[in-house]
Amino acid sequence: MGDPPPAPDPSAPQPSSRRSSQVSEQRSQERAQLPPAVPDGVQQMPLDAQVLRSSQEILESQANLQSWSQGASLSPYEQLAMFQAEEAQLGGMEYPSLNTGFPSEFLPQPYLDGGGIQVPGNASLMQQLQHGRGNVFQELESAYQEPRPDLLGQFSMYQREDLQFSASAQHGPYMSDDPALQFSPSELGFMSFSMQVPEPEPRELAVQNAKAYLLQTSVNCNLSLYEHLVNLLTKILNQRPEDPLSILESLNRTAQWEWFHPKLDTLRDDPEMQLTYEMAERQKALFVRGGSGEGEQDMEEEVTETAVPNIMETAFYFEQAGVGLSSDESFRIFVALKQLVEQQPIRTCRFWGKILGLSGSYLVAEVEFREGEEEVEEEEVEELTEGGEATEAHGEEEGEEDEEKVTDVIPKPTWKPPPVIPKEESRSGTNKFLYFVCNEPGRPWTRLPHVTPAQIVHARKIKKFFTGRLDAPVISYPPFPGNEANYLRAQIARISAATHISPLGFYQFGEEEGDEEEEGRAGRDTYEENADFEGIPVLELVDSLANWVHHRQHILPQGRCTWVNPLQKTEEEEELGEEEEKADEGVEEVEQEIGPPLLTPLSEDAEILHTSPWTTRLSCSLCPQYSVAVVRSNLWPGAYAYAIGKKFENIYIGWGHKYSPENFNPSLPGPIQHEYPSGPEIMEMSDPTVEEEQALKAAQEHALATAEEEEEEEDEDEDEDADD
């Protein structure tokens, strides 16, 4: 009871111990009452000797905690005392006694007040504890109420200390400004302990050891298990998740993670979000209406025709068919197209589709320039190439002259590269439309170059994914002439030619036709809209494929839409190549390639593996009156077309590859070239080996040596003769 603190007192200034001794003295006097200065709402409980002991221990623990939170290290005594207090509670203190234990702990420092349990003293201590926090009474009240409803003794202990912790302002997210925590003890259960008299020495020692162990800071960080458990439990109490036991581990992990990754303060930018912010900035530019004129005038101008199609309507119809991008992406595409139309001199524009790639996708717009606009750029490109050819030819002629002077002329190879098939003119055939691509709405549109027949021929042989960067090289066998921009353009051309369809009758041939004979071979390549088109009922469109026609020209195996005889040389080539022409061994006959003419119905398309290359569907079978007819290509997965009434549209969203039932096998390299045939003129022999050479050399030396010996003998003979 009035005993002095049980453990030995090594360190000299122990204000807590003195305080406790004072407390114990006073407690013994005021057994049955709580100090009158204690505010209302506090229950008055009888005191016990054990209470006293525990109370003083608690006081010590509080004080110790306070000092700890202030950064002081705990002396063994203090630790012990703290632990004793907790242990005592663990041992089963009665609820009321605990209560009384508490208030007495907030005793003022004896030096300040001269002892006595007083509210102002409490207040000052509280203030000390909270570093100047104002809500003394609240704290006191909570202090009274806290220990009451506890499920487990440990729980309560941590709660109390948690209070101390929160008061210390050391942990950001665990500030005790959560009123629920302070004022809702009724949610927690009722704790009932039975009093036990804690035995002094061995138990204290055990408790002390356990506590010291818990307070060890981890090797990796400054966090101790004790502190972490406090954090965790506070978090659980703050969030009150359902069935916390089952998610205990996850909560544990999250609490640990949060300790090391505090939320950055608002003054600094979150580095992770930079990417998304940039994207949003770019797209914001799209939504700003261009031009600075007065509002009304601009509105009127804009309401008149614009080259940008009604993308939202198309997107709606495709959505009925189960195809297409989300509606906000469609809208962004619309605004991006509008931007494109403003930047370039465009007559008609259409959203062609989206090609997916590994690191990024392409949005493709199909445009037609106004008359006369586009050729300027084309001419520049052509001049460059022609200039290059001229210089090359010149270089060759000079080289030939030099060579003739040298006696040993390297035999010229008889192999000639196959003649280059000229690409089609702009606005015709495969190059009828111009294509612009961008990676995402908001980025600048890039124009794709025209496609050459060689590129189309090669594109048919390879199958590569697009990466999303236009300048990426296309590494393949046979080597593709160009980079990804060219490959993309070639695939777009193939897809357009194969899958752009329209209902029968929407387009018709123009009335002015030239000689049918001439044009019959080449195929008509112009069409115009039929003003009298009245639309085909949706059911008929779905039933029969003959109601749909291709309105893009088929690409011949040559790579062009109109056939060109590759052996017809242009004038320039004839001048340069006169000498070489004579060496030609006759012109090979090339057959003209003919493809299906324009506006052929889909029913004429070739089958793949006994299945039709097209699939037709009604968009919704539950309401056929308002459905849309949808046609899906089986040859190019991702190509769709819809038609309803007088409206129709095509779109492609996919990876840009043709369907093949087998896996793709890259073409094998060509056969190995034959060796030069050995004939009487040139015989191939193997070089002599080192041994043979050495043997020859030895033989020669030997022969020399014998020859010299013979000479010497002859000389000697002559000498002897001479002597004789």
Binding site: P241, S246, I247, E249, S250, L251, T254, E272, M273, L275, T276, M279, E319, Q320, A321, G322, V323, G324, L325, S326, E329, K354, L356, L358, S359, G360, S361, N439, E440, F465, G468, L609, T611, S612, T615, S619, C620, S621, L622, C623, R632, N634, G638, I653, G654, P661, E662
Partner: protein, 235 residues
């Protein structure tokens, strides 16, 4: 995608061009709820759609409490009436590997495949051409199983393994941060782990047994083009 968050997931996955028309979406929402009630699944996932010539198959999967237990697969032609599919076996896979081409869309359709089989007739051994009938349903089952094993992916932290064995959905999973989302190692295959035991001891020491109990995507072959993680609207 989970039946409960179907609409949101459809919006997010729309970048590839495949979507569902409004009538299908509405019917899915209602019918998946009913499936969940009738079969008493813990979670019902809308697996996807397989295109066929005449009709398309809509596939759903039902999961029990233990997320890694074998799932029940259901298919429907109109998103309203669902039928259970038999579980996949290895023989099915072997059998259907010879069928090529598209699905027809008729579940009772049978593919005919002629095989040369050696028939022992007493002492004679001769080869006979046997026509094997393979049902489209079998092919459907094995294709779904193959696709699941190859590409079913889950982010790290979404599931956790309890010490008793079953795998549960992690209710405290708040998603991956931006930097984590770009790394392939934060995604796992949602199937029985195959490569986990092949890891070295050093690697295993860094793993967290409650979260890292599945194969990661990092070591999939072919590297570089097997998987790419794209952020935002880039896909």
């Amino acid at each position: 995608m989970d039946a409960e968050s179907l609409l949101l997931s459809l919006e997010l996955a729309s970048g590839s061009g495949q979507g569902l028309s409004p009538d299908r979406r509405a019917s899915l929402l209602t019918s998946l709820m009913l499936v969940k009630r009738d079969y008493r699944y813990d979670r019902v996932l809308f697996w996807g759609r397989i295109l066929g010539l005449v009709a398309d198959y809509y596939i759903a999967q039902g999961l029990s409490e233990d997320q890694l237990a074998p799932r029940k697969t259901l298919y429907s032609l109109n998103c309203m009436e669902w039928s259970l599919l038999p579980p996949a076996t290895d023989e099915m896979m072997v059998q259907t590997s010879v069928v090529k081409g598209r699905f027809t869309g008729d579940p009772s359709h049978e593919y005919e495949h002629t095989e040369l089989q050696k028939v022992n007739d007493g002492e004679k051994v001769f080869e006979e051409e046997v026509v094997v009938q393979i049902k489209e349903e079998t092919r459907l089952v094995s294709i779904i199983d193959q696709i699941d094993k190859a590409v079913s992916v889950i982010p790290r932290g979404a599931l956790f393994k309890t010490p008793f064995g079953p795998v549960h959905v992690n209710r405290t999973f708040e998603g991956l941060s931006l930097s984590q989302a770009k790394k392939l190692s934060s995604y796992f295959h949602f199937r029985e782990p195959v490569e986990l035991k092949n890891k070295t001891l050093l690697e295993k020491a860094d793993l967290d047994p409650s979260l890292d109990f599945l194969d990661s995507l990092e070591h999939d072959i072919p590297k570089g083009c097997g998987w790419t993680a794209l952020l935002g609207a880039d896909f």
